[in-house]
């Protein structure tokens, strides 16, 4: 009877746990490996193990002190660029979304359709043209040319604004029009309706759009790589993938430490907003 019960359990549940555990290992192994290795005392990749023997923070210390690897400068640059670009992105996207959702005008349908079509082509596809365009801007206005964060932020701004206004507009459409009609009767201007009613009520989607945009820019490699030539201006993505290419064996501890610092905040942010992000992603496609 007991064996039958166990056999039944295996048939119903046991094999599920077995398969799930295989993929748990597959999913988590590289992550655990790099986390433990970032605080492990061994020196290189050759003798790296999943469970390290000694504990040390020397890799993190090395990252903060090596003048050839200004890691925290890169981190600062990344947060700066991603924050500024994401904030303006959401702001401009919200303005446009308001017009698309609430105002009636000729060419509204056409412009919305244009937005959808333009967004099919990721902006980095034309990176050669972006590079040459900013190469020329460098002559005319060096402060926003190649090699500047300003220029890079401008490119990021253009990149996802269409997609964002589209998503925000969709959310605003679900806000009952009776609210703003009532306000209009009370003599509110267009701007007041936006500022006092629609924008506050849209806050949930704005937060999500902000997070998606921030993560997207934080993770960008190609545009940052063509834009930034000065080591001190690099973002983390460019920095760690440019510096650690020659000697993986000797640098392994530092590579692990820098990976942990770069990935943790984004992973936490992502897991926190996971439901909303996947919801948003199914509507368009930024990642995956």
């Amino acid at each position: 009877m007991e064996t039958f019960k166990f056999f039944n359990w295996v048939k119903e549940y046991g094999w599920r746990h077995f398969v799930a555990l295989i993929f748990v290992t597959f999913a988590i192994y590289p992550i655990l490996f790099v986390v433990t290795n970032s605080v492990a005392d061994f020196a290189n990749l050759t003798n790296s193990k999943l469970i390290p023997e000694g504990f040390t923070l020397k890799h993190f210390k090395l990252l903060s002190s090596d003048p050839l690897v200004p890691y925290f400068k890169w981190l600062y640059n990344t947060y700066k660029v991603a924050l500024i670009a994401a904030i303006f992105n959401v702001f401009l996207g919200t303005l446009a979304a308001y017009a698309f959702s609430r105002l009636q005008f000729k060419g509204r349908r056409a412009s919305l359709l244009t937005l959808v079509i333009v967004q099919m082509f990721p902006s980095f596809l034309a990176f050669v043209a972006i590079y040459l365009l900013f190469f020329q801007i460098s002559d005319i206005a060096p402060f926003m040319g190649l090699g500047t964060h300003f220029g890079l932020i401008l490119v990021y701004l253009g990149g996802s604004i269409g997609f964002n206004s589209w998503l925000i507009k969709g959310f605003m459409d679900t806000i009952s029009p009776s609210l703003d009609e009532a306000a209009k009767v009370d003599g509110a201007t267009e701007y007041q309706i936006f500022r006092r009613i629609i924008a506050p009520l849209s806050r949930p989607i704005l937060v999500v759009i902000f997070v998606i945009t921030f993560i997207g820019i934080y993770s960008d490699f190609i545009l940052a790589a063509i834009f930034l030539k000065d080591k001190n201006l690099w973002t983390v993505a460019v920095g760690i993938n440019t510096v650690f290419i020659d000697d993986f064996n000797a640098d392994w501890g530092v590579i692990a430490a820098s990976s942990v610092i770069a990935a943790t905040p984004i992973a936490v942010l992502f897991i926190f907003f996971q439901k909303q992000i996947t919801g948003g992603l199914t509507a368009g496609s930024v990642k995956g």
Partner: protein, 533 residues
């Protein structure tokens, strides 16, 4: 009160517009000087739009849309158009400048006429902390000239040498503070560099090192410089003043006595880049390989990660299964980590000599008696590795969306099938799976489109390598179209082939357009969107 605030908002609007217009006006002459026609037209279009929209009250909705639209036009739409233009030019290393810019560079070149070498004098060679060279030329007591020694490229930007009598005390040379004097031997060691340098005395006169002496001061000579090339605008030829030869324009360079003169300039070349892509055997071959692999990579990535994601969501979709929440949160993890980090970490794990994957597989290699796999170093291993890592990156997304879709399928349908005598597998393949595909397929196409241009993974994991031998351009076995473009334009190590790279981008544009068209057709998404508006 209301009037005051309205007046204030009007004033601030005009102030902002004034600043904006000042910027536009500042840009126009600069754009004209640098002949950036595209940039000029962009500036003008934006300037006119902004003024029309914000000065009049006729385009209310545009006031909301325009700020975002400007960025989208400038950095998404405009580059796409500009890209098309570049694909019809020869824009590449050696042909970066406009013709006027190239001529002005050439006219700055100088040469030393043979008959003008004369006067010799004592010369001292110094170096500062930045290892820059300085010369002291002791012509006579009224002309002790000191200054930086520069190469020909810097002659017109450097300042003239100055008279510094304080460098000689009682006829003896004394080294100024912060400088180091090169000995004769050090001068010989550096002689190739030093020969190229000169001390600029005035517009036409320079002092150069003539003879190095191991003991005592070396000898310098005065030379006069003349402009090497003069441009004859009337006949559109360059005249070489040293040889008196006439250099005509051959397509995009001046050519003197059969030699191309660098730099050339960029010109419109029609469909030449496209012709090269499709007919030059040593480019067409690699392009074929890359295009085929791009499709394979995107398709297999979707299939593998979808298979894993679906398997897991089906397995976990069971009432009463313990640890569900833990499993779910672990399966999301690979997706939560930025791809640029994952690629770096996997590159370490896959390292053939030191990586953990090969040490894991070590026993297996011994049993099978085979050589360890050189991960990322051979065509097959690199392609498998790229797919493996992309499955790792992609299955969580598939897991999430299939879980959502599975849960939205009514349980009654499955129950009814069971009642009719269907086995679990039968009801899955006949009912669950087709229903699932209805809601999932647009997302799968989206994922295909994403991986079609998954530059980050390819470039950071394998770098596109290993290289395809015998290709005219730098390209590898795991390169997809977008990373191939990147190598052509930026990092291939064979110069910047912007024109050719742009023509590959146009191919990508066309393919993305086709994929999107299929996706729209297949899912009728366009109608849905249209209905939504």
């Amino acid at each position: 009160m209301i009037y005051l605030s309205m007046a204030l908002s009007k004033i601030s609007r005009y102030v902002l517009l004034a600043i904006f217009n000042a910027l536009i006006v500042y840009t126009i002459p600069l754009a004209l000087t640098f002949e950036s026609w595209f940039f000029l037209s962009l500036t003008l279009v934006i300037g006119i739009l902004v003024n029309v929209v914000y000065f009049t009250d006729r385009f209310q909705p545009m006031k909301w849309i325009l700020p975002g639209m400007i960025f989208m036009i400038s950095f998404v739409v405009f580059p796409a158009i500009y890209n098309t233009f570049v694909s019809f030019t020869n824009w590449s290393t050696g042909h970066i400048l406009t013709k006027a810019q190239a001529i002005s560079v050439l006219e700055d070149r100088v040469f030393t006429p043979d008959d003008q070498k004369g006067l010799e004098f004592e010369m001292y060679i110094l170096q500062d902390q930045d290892l820059k060279f300085y010369y002291v030329a002791n012509l006579d007591s009224d002309n002790i000239l000191f200054g930086r020694a520069v190469s020909d490229d810097e002659i017109f930007s450097t300042s003239y040498a100055t008279h510094e009598p304080s460098l000689f005390i009682n006829g003896e040379f004394s080294i100024p503070d912060g400088f180091y004097q090169l000995s004769g031997k050090e001068q010989i060691a550096n002689s190739t560099t030093l020969q190229e340098l000169s001390l600029v005395i005035d517009q036409n006169t320079r002092a150069q090192l003539y003879k190095i002496s191991v003991f005592g001061a070396s000898t310098g000579r005065l030379t006069s410089t003349s402009q090497l090339y003069t441009y004859d605008e009337l006949n559109d030829v360059l005249i070489n003043n040293a040889t008196n030869s006439v250099c005509p324009v051959i397509k995009d360079n001046f050519e003197c006595d059969g030699n191309e003169i660098e730099p050339g300039w960029r010109v419109y070349v029609g469909g030449e880049n496209y012709r090269k892509l499709f007919s030059s055997q040593r480019i067409r071959g690699p392009l074929n390989i890359v295009t085929k692999w791009t499709f394979q990579f995107a398709l297999l990535s979707v299939i593998f990660s979808f298979a894993v994601g679906l398997l897991l969501s089906v397995i976990l979709n069971k009432d009463g299964l313990k640890f569900q929440r833990i499993y779910r949160s672990v399966f999301i993890l690979p997706y939560a980590i930025p791809a640029f980090v994952s690629a770096l970490v996997w590159k370490g794990l896959l390292n053939p000599d030191y990586g953990v994957i090969n040490s894991w597989l070590g026993p297996l290699y011994e049993i099978l008696d085979v050589e360890p796999v050189k991960w990322l170093k051979t065509k097959e291993s690199a392609r498998s590795a790229v797919l493996l890592v992309n499955t790792w990156l992609g299955f969580p997304y598939m897991f999430l969306i299939t879980t959502g879709a599975l849960q939205s399928i009514p349980k009654e349908l499955i129950e009814a099938a069971k009642v009719d005598g269907a086995t679990g597998l039968q009801s899955f393949w006949r009912i669950t799976f087709p229903l699932l595909m209805v809601s999932i397929s647009p997302l799968l196409i989206g994922s295909f489109a994403f991986n079609f241009n998954n530059f980050t993974l390819i470039f950071l994991l394998s770098g596109g390598g290993p290289p395809i031998v015998g290709s005219e351009v730098s390209v590898g076995w795991t390169d997809i179209l977008i990373s191939f473009t990147y190598k052509l334009a930026i990092s291939g190590g064979r110069g910047n082939l912007f024109g050719l790279a742009s023509s590959v981008t146009i191919i990508i544009f066309a393919l993305v357009l086709i994929i999107s068209a299929i996706s729209f057709r297949y899912t009728k998404r366009l109608e849905r969107i249209y209905g939504n508006i």
